[in-house]
């Protein structure tokens, strides 16, 4: 596995090339395949059950943003890479309005729901396919990344963020982290935090810190290598 130091706006994984979108989703333009991860829908209400009554608008907010992305990219297939809901009972707590929005997002595209650790059994009736993982074009899509170096993969789960520091200031943003063989995509949910890509959790996945990050910011993507990043 060789990481070319080429400065590219594409993210290559195996034989496929993806466009990292500034919203934090991946897009494959030939098959019109959109990949989004870690929506964590109903995280607010999940936490509310434990006493912190956070604004119950996170599901609406997440779906609104996703809806705008879908309107722009017009995908045929949407893969949600797991943790679509923050907990197993999440789907039953969605409001009617949010259910309607979610239904409208399924009208023009086929959804593939990958099971995540937060939602190991996503509802079957909301997607064309519910599965633990799926292979397309030689690339495996799953929730938790593996250390398997044989088959290329795209995963979520870790909520990668990158932090850079310059001129006495630091900025911490969601990012894609990839090395040509593996790509981990950022969490899309409105209430999702992140884990710095320099954290030890990423080490076994990207040996010798041989990776590139595509940092998501406002309406742009910035490509930054590991040497320009700092720890939390």
């Amino acid at each position: 596995m060789v990481l070319t130091k080429q400065h590219s706006e594409f993210i290559a994984v195996g034989r496929l090339a993806f466009i990292p979108h500034a919203s934090g989703v991946l897009f494959e333009p030939y098959e019109r395949l959109l990949i989004v991860s870690d929506l964590h829908l109903e995280k607010g209400s999940s936490i509310a059950r434990r006493g912190a009554l956070l604004p119950p608008y996170d599901t609406r907010d997440t779906l609104n943003r996703l809806s705008a992305v879908i309107d722009g990219l017009k995908p045929k297939i949407i893969i949600s890479l797991g943790d679509t809901w923050h907990d197993g009972k999440g789907p039953s707590r969605m409001s009617d309005r949010d259910n309607e929005v979610f239904a409208s997002l399924r009208k023009h595209a086929d959804w593939i729901l990958i099971a995540g650790n937060h939602d190991p059994h996503p509802p079957e009736d909301l997607a064309a396919l519910v599965t633990d993982e799926i292979e397309i074009g030689g690339v495996t899509f799953r929730h938790e990344p593996t250390t398997d170096d044989q088959s290329p993969e795209i995963a979520g789960h870790l909520h990668p963020v990158a932090k850079i520091r310059a001129k006495g200031r630091s900025i911490r943003r969601k990012c894609f982290i990839s090395n040509g063989h593996r790509c981990i995509i950022p969490a899309f949910g409105s209430y999702t935090g992140g884990l710095n890509v320099l954290d030890a959790a990423f080490d076994p996945l990207f040996s010798d810190r041989n990776f590139l990050t595509h940092i998501v910011s406002a309406n742009q993507i910035f490509v930054v290598g590991p040497h320009s990043l700092v720890c939390d």
Binding site: G44, A48, P55, R169, I171
Partner: protein
């Protein structure tokens, strides 16, 4: 009035005369009147406060005394002060053989003792506002306070300026309701508007203001204050006071015990370090500031009380009240910022009433020399500049509502009228109360999603009660209004064989997380009086090593102190600037600098705002001198930059201090002004506080920070408790994310309103900026210059410490990207 026995005799055997104000307090109390006692330090304020209680308790028969429950509550802002006062009170009580029970109750009091205190209280209980709130939320509160006779509020001037003052006011309102005949006694240093404190002490009623009585003790001997004269010339900018360090050391040598006050802990570290470099006589000089380890602070305090120290370098942590022994000199390094604050600091020296305090002011730069001189004038005129009375915060109200639901519940109508008797909340609208109540219950969202998770519920009888034991537990854990910025422990580490840092050594203290975030491996900084090298972050700890000798510390940028220059001192500084006659008292380099400014540019009259424009390098600058304090200038800087951007002047950044600000741009500002493309009047129009402000605020970190504090205080999210933080993957939701979502979906939510009020008053200083914009209407003086002006140099030297907001973040990312590109090409 004559004191009854055994008090008269006790005073006599000690050869003392009861002071008139001490007698006055006993008289007022016997007439059932609440009283505010305003007195300078050393006037026997504390004894005066307790005397009515002691006299009343002494009049009871032994059996009545035995049956008497809680008689007096004493509330202090510091738990150390409560403990100290209890100790001091023991002396007269035991000498007069009075069988009264006196106890303290703080966060350190063991749980079993606190339980016992709630069931069988002492006659006199000394505690803090937070503990009082907990007691009032207790199921027994009604019985516990039913016969409360007196409540003494110490250091009231300091308490009322913060949200703690709001919390205490709400608790006071409840106490007034539980025992309507209660007597309140407020003890305060001299303030600008004692009438506000008089209102605070008694229950307010609609359409009518009520006031406590006022007893004032005039100042004792006049303080001897001077400005330190340094052999070296004062620099134009900077805050280190390095030029005066030898003189400071000499002054310490010449005195018995010196307190050296500075404005920030970084300054404290620096001054401490520099004094030790000069400490040939090895004088015991210590350091005291808020981020040092508590154990270490207590050690310093103990050493001071026993007279083992010659000097302590300290921050505002020693501003308040404990009698630290025989201080005979107070040195204030840097700008005093406010006349009242300065007087209270000076009062720390010679705690005896009739001897003069001695103090030295040490300006660190030329603007500060002006400010010190202005402060000197203010102290001589005994002028005060304590802040305005607060408007009660809604997040504190939400916390209080939860507490009252924990007690024995409430009916909304009754609670609302009770809360309106608290002076900070006397103008609270019923609508805001109802919305806050709704918030406390279910979050108060228009989308009513959480009815079944409600924290408080209304029963059929119309009474609101806490819904679950967990909600009550959460309330108790969350009590209080002090939200610490996230602090990280600083620990001496060791290197493992693999060359990575590991925990090992002792904890030196704490730093704010933003400071730690800015550190990279190998950075050196001064902390706890040592030069340390940053090794890495492990969990919530900053691991450091002692730096090798001779290494220069990388001192972090001076944050300018927490307190902006007071409006009152600002006026005096402006007046001084405009009157050449007053300059002879200033150091020669300062008056020379002002003369130079007059010659090259303009010195504005005291009601005018001077604006200069000039080129320098390949930039064009706009310099303004409002003298309205750093916070207001920062807000003005952001808004001006926005306006210049819209006028296509391509602004790049701005810099400010307490006295002025400079904005710089790519386009020629002088030319634009000359060609009437740019109008100063339009640029500085009051309408900048409209849409421009809102647009910026929505995205700014200032609102996010304010929101975080409100979210914690109001109980929306749980407070972090030291040692209980979860490390690694985040299990909670960052309040920044919550803020973004709430703002997008319910922008008029009550918590956003609370955050907005805090930001406007605190970090943005909007009122002051608004007043300034009004004041300068028609009073703008403008000068186009060929090059930088003498005044502007002193502001410009702060460059590198501020940056343009928003866009700049993208620039940084672009830079980082560019460097990668270079790496790839090269």
């Amino acid at each position: 009035m004559i004191l009854p026995e055994p008090f008269a005799e006790w005073f006599a055997t000690r050869g003392w005369q009861p002071r008139p104000h001490q007698l006055a307090l006993v008289t007022k109390a016997s007439q059932g009147l609440s009283t505010l006692l305003v007195a300078p330090t050393g006037a026997g304020k504390t004894l005066a406060g307790f005397l009515p209680t002691l006299v009343d308790l002494a009049s009871l028969s032994p059996t009545a005394l035995k049956k008497r429950g809680l008689h007096t509550l004493y509330i202090s802002p510091l738990k150390a002060l409560a403990v100290d006062i209890a100790r001091n009170l023991e002396t007269p009580v035991s000498e007069m053989k009075l069988p009264f029970t006196i106890e303290t109750r703080t966060g350190d009091t063991p749980a079993h003792k606190r339980t016992r205190q709630a069931e069988k209280p002492p006659h006199i209980l000394l505690t803090t506002p937070e503990q009082l709130a907990l007691l009032l939320a207790h199921r027994n509160a009604r019985e516990l306070f039913a016969n409360l006779n007196t409540i003494i509020l110490d250091e009231l001037h300091a308490l009322v300026t913060s949200k703690r003052g709001d919390l205490l006011a709400l608790d006071l309102a409840r106490l007034h309701r539980l025992s309507p005949k209660i007597n309140t006694i407020g003890l305060s240093a001299t303030v600008r508007e004692p009438i506000e404190l008089q209102r605070y002490l008694v229950a307010q009623h609609p359409n009518q203001k009520h006031y406590a009585e006022l007893v004032t003790v005039e100042g004792g001997a006049k303080a001897k204050i001077g400005i330190l004269k340094s052999a070296k010339r004062l620099p134009l900018a900077g805050h280190t006071a390095l030029a005066s360090m030898s003189e400071i050391y000499k002054a310490i040598q010449a005195h018995h015990m010196t307190l050296v006050f500075v404005n920030t802990r970084m300054q404290a570290e620096f001054v401490f370090q520099e004094l030790w470099k000069r400490n040939e006589a090895s004088l015991p000089i210590a350091l005291h500031h808020g981020s040092l380890d508590v154990g270490q602070r207590r050690k310093v305090e103990a050493a001071m009380v026993t007279g083992k120290l010659r000097s302590i370098v300290c921050t505002a942590t020693l501003d308040l009240g404990i009698d630290w022994g025989d201080v005979d000199l107070v040195i204030n390094v840097g700008a005093p910022k406010g006349a009242s604050r300065l007087m209270q600091r000076i009062g720390r020296s010679n705690h005896r009433f009739d001897e003069p305090s001695e103090a030295l002011l040490v300006p660190a730069n030329r603007f500060e020399a002006l400010e010190c001189q202005a402060a000197l004038g203010a102290v001589e005129a005994a002028a005060q500049d304590t802040p305005d009375a607060r408007i009660g915060a809604l997040d504190v109200l939400a916390q209080h509502i939860l507490g009252m639901a924990c007690a024995d519940g409430f009916k909304p109508d009754e609670l609302y009228s009770e809360i309106c008797t608290a002076s900070p909340y006397s103008n609270l609208s019923r609508k805001d109360f109802d919305r806050t109540l709704d918030f406390a219950a279910t979050g108060g969202y228009a989308l009513r999603a959480y009815e079944h998770f409600a924290k408080i519920k209304q029963n059929r009888d119309g009474i609101w009660r806490i819904a679950t034991p967990r909600a009550a537990q959460q309330y108790r854990m969350n009590i209080g209004t002090i939200v610490e910025s996230t602090m990280l422990k600083v620990r001496l580490g060791r290197m493992t064989k693999a060359g990575t840092p590991a925990r090992g050594g002792r904890v030196l203290g704490e730093v704010e997380d933003y400071f730690a975030e800015g550190l990279v491996f190998g950075d050196t900084f001064i902390f706890a009086g040592e030069i340390l090298r940053f090794e890495g972050l492990i969990g919530n700890e900053v691991i450091v090593a002692r730096a090798t000798k001779g290494v220069d510390p990388k001192i972090p940028a001076y944050a300018g102190g927490k307190f902006p220059l007071s409006t009152f001192l600002a006026e005096r500084v402006r007046a001084m600037l405009s009157s050449e006659k007053s300059w002879h008292v200033l150091p020669p380099e300062v008056s020379e600098w002002l003369h130079w400014q007059k010659e090259k540019s303009i010195l504005p009259k005291s009601n005018e705002l001077l604006v200069e424009s000039f080129p320098s390098g390949d930039r064009h600058y706009l310099a303004l001198y409002p003298f309205e304090g750093r916070l207001a200038h920062q807000t003005l800087g952001v808004l001006l930059t926005k306006r210049l951007e819209r006028a296509r002047m391509k602004p790049l950044g701005f810099v400010c201090n307490d006295y002025g600000l400079c904005v710089w741009a790519i386009r020629d500002l002088s030319a634009a002004m000359n060609d009437n493309i740019l109008s100063l009047d339009a640029l500085l129009d009051e309408d900048m506080l409209g849409d421009d402000l809102e647009e910026w605020l929505a995205e700014s970190s200032i609102m996010k920070r304010a929101f975080r504090y409100c979210a914690v205080i109001s109980g929306l999210i749980e407070r972090r408790h030291p040692g209980k933080e979860k490390s690694g993957k985040q299990v909670t939701v960052s309040t920044d994310l919550v803020y973004d979502v709430l703002r997008r979906h319910e922008p008029d939510h009550i918590l956003l309103k609370a955050a907005r009020a805090d930001a406007a008053a605190g970090l943005l200083d909007l009122k002051r900026l608004g007043d300034m914009l009004k004041r300068i209407r028609g009073n703008l003086v403008y000068k186009a210059l060929e090059k930088v002006s003498p005044l502007s140099v002193a502001v410009l030297l702060e460059i590198g410490r501020e940056a343009v907001y928003g866009e700049a973040a993208e620039d940084l990312l672009a830079d980082a990207e560019k460097s990668l590109l270079n790496e790839a090409i090269g």
